[in-house]
Amino acid sequence: MKIKIILLVILVLISFSKGSFSNELKLENKINKNLRCLICQGQSIYDSQSDFAESMKLVVKQKIKAGMSEEDIYSFFKIQYGEWILYDPQFNIKNFALWLLPIVIFLAGGIIIIVKFGVLKKR
């Protein structure tokens, strides 16, 4: 009976430690998927097996272990390689039109529909 309890405790402990491990791995994969491979520029380093992508994955792993957050790691790569290295572009003065234009067009379309067809007046 005692052995069973000890085994149970050990198993529970293992499952907990594995949980944190898989969280780290999840974060690592998430970051890897958002970083561009230097050699094959249409791929993320998660998908790539080129030498430099493998090295970049190691760097990401190291930085996570060192306790750096996702944002810290992105800004590290941004300083080294420019914003181009990130797949998810950040909002800035160069690309604000790309981010805002769809919303503006959507709102303008809505206004045209409301004015032209008098959706509000009918009520």
């Binding site: 230097l38 970049m56 420019g82």
Partner: protein
């Protein structure tokens, strides 16, 4: 009246799009980090190639007006072409050449140096390629020219050829 505005609007729209695409096509679509990235060379600690001692860049980058940090490997074919220029550059007293051996086997690297000569003042080992990423390298071979203050003056992505060799010499003459 309404039609007239519409026509003008359409014409302006087409001219606008034309210029956007015209300039868009002219832009290079291959991104390199030649003009961007870090300014100051990071101080990393790596193992020395021959003695395997821990060596930091701060200890090596002294007593010279210029430093050329060259990432190379014995398996990299363009590195062989580039090597002639590095040996030539070794004769220049105002520059110290430092090699980073990227993901290489020691045997092969030694053979490479025996065959083509060793232009490097120091060679540091980068077995897993982490240091090259920390420096902001883009591929093998790649060279960084640093000035006395250890600031990156120029990055040369790919092998040094006749043309790039001349620019290297020019940089060292101009800033001296």
């Amino acid at each position: 009246m309404k039609n007239k505005y519409l026509k003008i609007f359409i014409i302006i729209f087409f001219i606008f799009s034309f210029f956007i695409f015209y300039y868009g096509l002219k832009q290079k679509d291959l991104y390199t980090t030649e003009n961007s990235g870090i300014q100051k060379f990071p101080n990393l600690t790596l193992h020395d190639f021959f003695t395997n001692k821990q060596t930091s860049f701060e200890d090596i980058l002294i007593d010279s007006n210029y430093y050329l940090v060259n990432i190379w490997s014995s398996w990299c074919l363009p590195c062989r072409d580039e090597h002639i220029y590095l040996t030539q550059l070794k004769k220049n007293s105002s520059v110290k050449i430092i090699g980073i051996n990227y993901k290489d086997k020691k045997n092969n690297a030694e053979k490479f140096l025996d065959e083509f000569g060793n232009p490097y003042e120091y060679i540091l080992n980068d077995k897993d390629g982490i240091a090259s990423i920390e420096i902001g390298a883009y591929g093998v071979p790649e060279s960084f020219i640093l000035n006395k203050q250890k600031e990156i003056v120029k990055k040369i992505i790919g092998p040094i050829d006749q043309k790039k060799f001349k620019t290297v010499l020019k940089i060292m003459k101009n800033e001296n």
